[in-house]
């Protein structure tokens, strides 16, 4: 019995072949509704970004690119973008280099506490961002009090927090790839003369590459877009892009925010599309 993707697809296809017409109609309808529900806000934000008037109202008085042109002149957005980018890149790299070995151990070794550890590493995904943020804040305060090290509001503290966001994605997606991997190809490599390390580098890593790339992408996105947790652990003057957007919204509601969001959406969508050209994300997630 094979439980890989191909087998499942086969079952699903056979199922849907025997699906009554009405059932399929309902299924398609539900899928369309869900998609519309997800996409509608994005469509409106994008539309809004091109409105000419300052106070958003319908119908638009006209269209303009002025809000986009205003972004480069706003230091808070530019520095926020650069900080978020830096943060996401560094956190993703660290998260991958920690999460990959963890996933290997969890997928390959049998030890007591394995289940607990596995759930623990997925926890940051489940805990609400606010709770995570408060917990980290309190932790930073306590550690600073105990050791005297300047942790509260430091860049290091912020990065460490964002690594927490990346680790669950890495562990989850890499583990999924490892579990679907035919172990006999690793044994084949060893029988051909490759030691454990060479086997990992030449055979295992290329085989789980889609999972690793997807993990990097999701980790990057969740770090780049994180607001709730970051709010609690950023230091003075250290403003990430989502925080800059929030702060701007406190005083103004002009379409600049919409324009910034559109750029953010475009960046993430581009990253996804490029990634998808190299590895089919749908195969992993």
């Amino acid at each position: 019995m094979r439980w890989d993707g191909e087998y499942l697809r086969e079952i699903l296809m056979r199922r849907s072949a025997s699906f009554p017409r009405l059932g399929r109609l309902v299924l398609n309808g539900a899928a369309t509704l869900t998609l519309a529900y997800i996409l509608t806000p994005l469509v409106f934000v994008t539309w809004l970004a091109f409105f000419r008037q300052e106070i958003p109202s319908f119908p638009p008085e006209g269209y303009s690119l002025r809000w986009f042109q205003a972004i480069p002149g706003n230091d808070r957005f530019v520095s926020g973008f650069l900080l978020s980018l830096e943060l996401a890149v560094v956190a993703t790299s660290i998260g991958l280099s920690l999460g990959l070995p963890a996933a290997l151990c969890l997928a390959r070794l049998r030890f007591t506490g394995r289940e607990v550890l596995s759930s623990l590493l997925l926890l940051p995904l489940v805990v609400p961002g606010i709770v995570l943020g408060i917990a980290l804040y309190v932790f930073h305060v306590e550690v600073e009090l105990a050791t005297g090290l300047p942790i509260l509001g430091s860049l290091g503290g912020l990065i460490a927090g964002h690594v927490l966001l990346v680790i669950p994605w890495t562990v989850r997606l890499v583990m999924a790839s490892l579990i679907g991997l035919d172990r006999s190809i690793e044994e084949a490599a060893q029988s051909l003369g490759a030691n454990r390390f060479t086997t990992f580098r030449r055979v295992t890593l290329p085989a789980i590459r889609p999972g690793v790339v997807a993990a990097a992408l999701f980790g990057f996105v969740s770090s780049f877009g994180n607001l709730e947790m970051s709010l609690f652990i950023v230091g003075p003057g250290r403003t990430t892009l989502p925080i800059a957007i929030l702060q701007y919204l406190e005083w103004k509601i002009d379409p600049t925010i919409a324009a910034v969001s559109v750029l953010q959406i475009a960046l993430i969508a581009t990253a996804m599309l490029i990634t998808d050209r190299f590895v089919k994300i749908s195969q992993v997630v």
């Binding site: 044994e187 084949a188 490599a189 029988s191 051909l192 490759a194 055979v203 085989a207």
Partner: protein, 353 residues
């Protein structure tokens, strides 16, 4: 190639004994098949030879080297897996080159040896393909070429044909065997398919429950099975329980008197090969045994016909007749005689199970 010696090897997994006290010598260039039902320890034995399992006790020697505790990558054993285990991200040529790269063979020589290996399996025209672009049979041949390209000391085949369809399997069987003979490869194959084992092996090792039951050529196993298990696993047998009453006379549990060659008195099991039994409309006085019976089941298999004939309330024998010697068409319910010579039945002392 080299000689392989497995010397008193056992493998325990906790309380479970996967292999018990197995000794086997495979001569240089010999093709040995480990045959047995699943869970009999044959695959564990192969993994011990390949280096993926370390025996609890015993020694494995390959050529002059004691390899018992050597990791797989230092053993120089070519391995072909049931799933082929080709590297999905590498082309056919790169797959075959892998073992050579690991041995740091220089580029010009590597190219030649990859081409040679692919020519052996007649796939030189597909060298740039990826494994998923090949059929099952082609993938299997790539796996074989990959296992041979680096000149291994021993070739290990783990159920290499079980993923192929029946027709292809018969072809590849012959192909592997011819290649093995031509190159003089010391080979150990694991299979549960007796037909595969019989067509390919120089010598067979029948295993059950972690232990070797019998080692021998096809003829030896077939004609002189050492026990009831071998008689049932290699070829087919009908077993009749009973006892040896007097030298040469077997009395079945159902009360039949059967002439045989066994002399030692006591409880015994009689094994009959379906193709050794003759089936006649009248009693055959010239045979040692000729018993009346009723045909209860007939299956027409094309070249042969199988009949199940009840010869006593407790006993039924399977008779296989060649389709050519027709004249008498067996029909269910028909009264017939089944006959066989004294040496046609094999007797195992002791009660059966």
């Amino acid at each position: 190639m080299a000689r392989l010696e497995i010397d008193r090897v056992s493998k325990h997994y906790g309380d479970v004994i996967a292999v018990r006290d197995l000794t086997l010598d495979v001569a240089d260039g010999e093709f040995v098949v480990l045959l047995g039902p699943s869970g009999c320890g044959k695959t564990t034995t192969l993994r011990i030879v390949a280096g993926f399992a370390v025996p609890t006790s015993g020694v494995v020697r390959l050529g002059d080297r004691d390899v018992t505790r050597l990791p797989p990558w230092k053993r120089n054993a070519g391995l072909v897996f049931q799933s082929y285990a080709l590297f999905p991200h590498l082309s056919v040529a790169r797959n075959v080159a892998f073992g050579l790269e690991m041995r740091k063979v220089e580029a010009s020589q590597m190219q030649r040896r990859v081409a040679d290996a692919l020519r052996l399996v007649r796939l030189e025209h597909l060298s740039e393909r990826l494994p998923r672009q090949l059929s099952g049979g082609q993938q299997q041949r790539v796996a074989l070429a990959r296992a041979l390209a680096f000149y291994p000391d021993v070739l290990l085949l783990d159920e290499p044909l079980s993923n192929l369809d029946a027709k292809l399997r018969a072809e590849v069987r012959v192909e592997i065997r011819e290649l093995q003979r031509r190159l003089g490869l010391t080979t150990v194959m694991v299979t549960h398919d007796q037909e595969e084992a019989l067509t390919m092996a120089d010598r067979l090792v029948v295993m059950n429950d972690g232990a070797v039951r019998q080692v021998g050529t096809q003829k030896e196993l077939y004609e002189r099975p050492s026990d009831r298990f071998v008689a049932g696993f290699v070829g087919r047998s009908t077993f009749i329980e009973g006892e040896i009453e007097a030298p040469g006379r077997f009395r079945s549990a159902g009360g039949l008197a059967i002439v045989c060659k066994e002399a030692t008195a006591g409880p015994a099991t009689l094994a009959l090969r379906p193709e050794r039994i003759v089936f006649t409309p009248e009693r055959l006085a010239s045979m040692d045994n000729s018993l009346p019976g009723v045909v209860e089941f007939v299956s027409y298999l094309g070249a042969t016909i199988d009949m199940h004939v009840r010869i006593s309330p407790n006993e039924r024998v399977i008779v296989q007749v060649s389709n050519r010697e027709s004249g008498l068409v067996p029909t269910v319910g028909g009264r017939v005689f089944v006959a066989w010579p004294a040496e046609g039945s094999i007797v195992f002392a002791g009660a059966g199970n």
